[in-house]
Amino acid sequence: MAKPGDARPVFLDLFRIRFPIGAIASILHRASGVLLFLALPPLALGLEMSLRGEAQFEALRSLLPAPWRIVIGTILAWAATHHLLAGIRHLLMDVGVGSALGTARASARAVLAIALLAALFAAWRGLS
């Protein structure tokens, strides 16, 4: 990238770059990680509530009004599934399993698809 004071243009318009499937799985790995980070404080508070007593434990299930519960539940189901699977994919690639381009493309596609299915499943369960 250009240094400060360097007037020369730099082409880096991300919307005009065609990203391979692995890059899409990767940026979503990062985005889902941020979502899960944001979920940590509520999770810690939820743990505290769940142990405080039977009433609080039961109240956890209906802490949020229905539309929010479903939306947040769906997003978190997607984020957790995507992050976990993409993470396993990377751990395997670290030790040389599936790190050839063809397999890496296939596993990236699988991660994206399964995470989407998990989100759909969570939404369906929330709605029914």
Binding site: L40, L51, E54, F57, I88
Partner: protein
């Protein structure tokens, strides 16, 4: 084992990931194998001699993992020094608060039999 300055974060990320995976798998299995989860069963599990420390370990691994990941994001996208320091401090404070909260919660309810 010698840990180097660049490798350490990478290793922490990998080891914490493996820990989270193992603990989630064990926890999921424990929940699935037993009867449906109600408060009594959850309380017994989370305050037990194994459950309590394991939940603490899970949160410790989650926070370590989140720290490395969030720091990577900051190192990539946040270039101005002052802003970078503020964001990193904020992330560290949040994770520290989570750990303290979980530790206090688990300690308050910790009830090993006998």
């Amino acid at each position: 084992m010698r840990l180097f300055r660049g490798q350490r974060a990478w290793l922490v990320q990998r080891i914490s990931a493996l820990l989270v995976l193992a603990l989630l798998a064990a926890g999921g299995l424990a929940l699935l194998l037993g009867p449906p989860l109600d408060h009594a069963r959850w309380h017994a599990l989370a305050t037990g001699v194994h459950g309590g420390p394991l939940i603490m370990l899970l949160f410790a691994a989650l926070c370590a993992h989140a720290w490395v990941g969030m720091r990577d994001i900051v190192l990539d996208y946040v270039q101005p020094r002052a802003l970078r320091l503020s964001v990193l401090t904020l992330v560290a404070l949040v994770l520290f608060a989570v750990l303290v909260r979980v530790l206090l919660t688990l300690a308050a309810h910790f009830a090993p039999p006998g």
